[in-house]
């Protein structure tokens, strides 16, 4: 069995469809995750950039919760930016969300409490994803329609963790040992 594959680049409409279907799956199959989604996103809006495809998302209030998605032409105010390769690497285990943020391959900007809430939601979806056949199916569809074949270096799993010591690692040992 040999390695070979080819995919085409997706459109914004494909991504919007996948996100809407994901919300639909959560709504009917995981009440906890759906309640968290409503709590975290109610009365909020944002623009995200997935591999150059900008999408505007707006959620209504919790009493009649609806999420609207449409193509965006915004060049400012984008609160989440990453690529399909990064998302694929997170699911593949060659990087994590933490490391992607630390190495700037995933950009996220929002008030701190909103960031914490969104992180809780994402972790909940990641925990649910492998076990839910409809979420797995959506992920396979995303891979087939969006992701490119592996190019360049193959990544080890040892490098999935972020390193936070870059500042102190660049200070000479002789300086660190100075007794103040």
């Amino acid at each position: 069995m040999e390695i070979s594959s080819h995919t085409e680049r997706p459109t914004v409409e494909i991504l919007i469809d996948l996100i809407q279907r994901m919300i639909g799956v959560i709504r009917y199959e995981n009440k906890f995750a759906y309640a968290l989604l409503q709590q975290v996103t109610a009365n909020k809006s944002t623009v995200i950039d997935l591999d150059g495809n900008k999408i505007f998302l707006q959620a209504s209030d919790t009493s009649d919760y609806i999420v609207c998605l449409e193509k965006s032409e915004a060049s400012a105010g984008i609160q989440f930016t990453t690529t399909f390769d990064v998302l694929q690497n997170i699911i593949a285990g060659t990087t994590t969300i933490d490391k992607s943020i630390a190495d700037h391959s995933l950009f996220v900007q929002a008030p701190f409490q909103d960031l914490l809430n969104m992180y809780r939601l994402v972790v909940c979806l990641l925990a649910e994803g492998p076990l839910n056949p409809r979420l797995r199916s959506l992920w396979v569809e995303f891979i087939e329609k969006c992701c490119r074949p592996t190019a360049g270096s193959i990544n080890t799993i040892e490098h999935q963790k972020p390193r936070f010591n870059s500042l102190i690692d660049n200070i000479p040992q002789s300086i660190l040992l100075v007794n103040i």
């Binding site: 069995m1 997170i90 285990g93 972790v123």
Partner: protein, 355 residues
């Protein structure tokens, strides 16, 4: 058909009664292979696990491939260092993908069959850039334990073939390495009805050669619950030249797992779990010491961990997890049988500490 052939047939027989439309969802059945090259220290672990039944169930494959550092991505590698590649995937279990008698599982990226003792396994993960193809037959005495341990309201069974003659190849990126008969191959099976999150064990396989070219293989299993408040009786199989030589049981076996002094976050698969548990720092095993004696014979095994990672398996029904520490490294052994002492250095082991 001789007794060994009968045992191999019973062991490899697919256990989940998936033709029954009411087959319980907590059934699990997996095939587990380890390949090791003594020359380069390359090691590959592959696991193919069937969960539940077709349509509602799913299939998981897991691979860890440890290579000399730098081999995969450059022309210069550091044999003193190792790096690990891997993946863990979930697939839908479509009716028709699996047939039994003979066993055959075929999908886009996995082809697996066992027919007349010949195992053929072809696995590819295009996005990870990893593939391997192997074919081989058993050479070691099989051991088959239909109900190894009870778990909750269920059970787990075990079949062990700690020696197979395999040939084939492993591809990573644009590099390919050949698998031949100098490689050591271990195979076992687990099957049963249980929920992940409510099961645990300590297991290892150790393969080493003494200075007279005698090949020794040790396989241990001890069951435990999540917090180790209950442990089962340890079983230690001793093989010499692929034949079962001795079994040490119960109080004759002592297991001492020494842990690292500092905690760390190990590499975790599958990737989703790596992000879910990215803030969980734990103390990983550093050395495993095992001794066994029964008044006639005795053995001492010392295993030093040089690669460690963790596999976290969620349970779909009860929202709980099983944590499998996957460890490998070098091993030394000393064994005294019939008052004759031999020693092995530069052995290899693969272990799982599960809770």
């Amino acid at each position: 058909m001789n007794i060994n052939d009968q045992q191999i047939f019973l062991m490899e027989e697919f256990k989940i009664p998936f033709f029954d439309p009411f087959c319980p969802e907590d059934w699990k059945d997996w095939y587990h292979y380890i390949l090791y090259d003594p020359a380069t220290k390359t090691r590959l672990l592959f696991n193919l696990c069937f969960n539940g039944r077709p349509k509602t169930g799913y299939i998981t494959d897991t691979l860890f491939l440890t290579l000399p550092k730098g081999f995969a991505n450059s022309n210069i590698s550091d044999p003193a260092g190792l790096e690990t590649f891997g993946f863990a995937r979930n697939f839908e279990w479509h009716p028709g993908d699996l047939s039994v008698n003979p066993l055959k599982y075929d999908t886009t990226e996995i082809s697996f069959s066992i027919y007349d003792k010949v195992t053929t396994l072809n696995v590819a993960n295009k996005s990870a850039g990893i593939a391997f193809n192997i074919i081989g037959t058993p050479v070691a005495t099989p051991v088959y334990i239909p109900e190894l341990a009870p778990y909750g309201n269920g059970f787990i069974g075990w079949g062990v073939l700690p020696g197979m003659k395999m040939k084939g190849d492993i591809q990573i990126g644009n590099k390919k390495m050949l698998v031949d008969e100098s490689w050591y191959c271990y195979h076992d099976r687990n099957f049963g009805r249980f929920f992940w999150g409510n099961i645990g064990w300590t297991w290892f396989v150790l393969n080493a050669t003494d200075r007279n070219q005698g090949k020794w293989t040790y396989v241990l299993h001890q069951s435990n619950n999540n917090d180790y408040s209950h442990t089962g009786s340890p079983i230690l199989f001793v093989y010499f030249q692929h034949k079962l030589k001795k079994v040490f049981l119960g109080p004759n076996v002592h297991i001492d797992i020494r842990i690292e002094k500092t905690d760390a976050i190990p590499p975790i698969l599958p990737g989703a779990m790596a992000s879910v548990f990215s803030d969980r720092s734990i103390f990983m095993p550093k050395t495993i010491l095992v001794s066994a004696a029964d008044g006639n014979d005795n053995i001492v095994l010392k295993m030093d961990v040089n690669t460690s990672s963790e596999l976290i398996v969620p349970d779909s029904l009860n929202k709980q997890y099983t944590f499998l520490k996957e460890l490998s490294g070098s091993a030394n052994t000393t064994q005294v049988f019939n008052k004759k002492k031999t020693a092995c250095t530069d052995g290899f082991f693969y272990a799982e500490i599960v809770h």
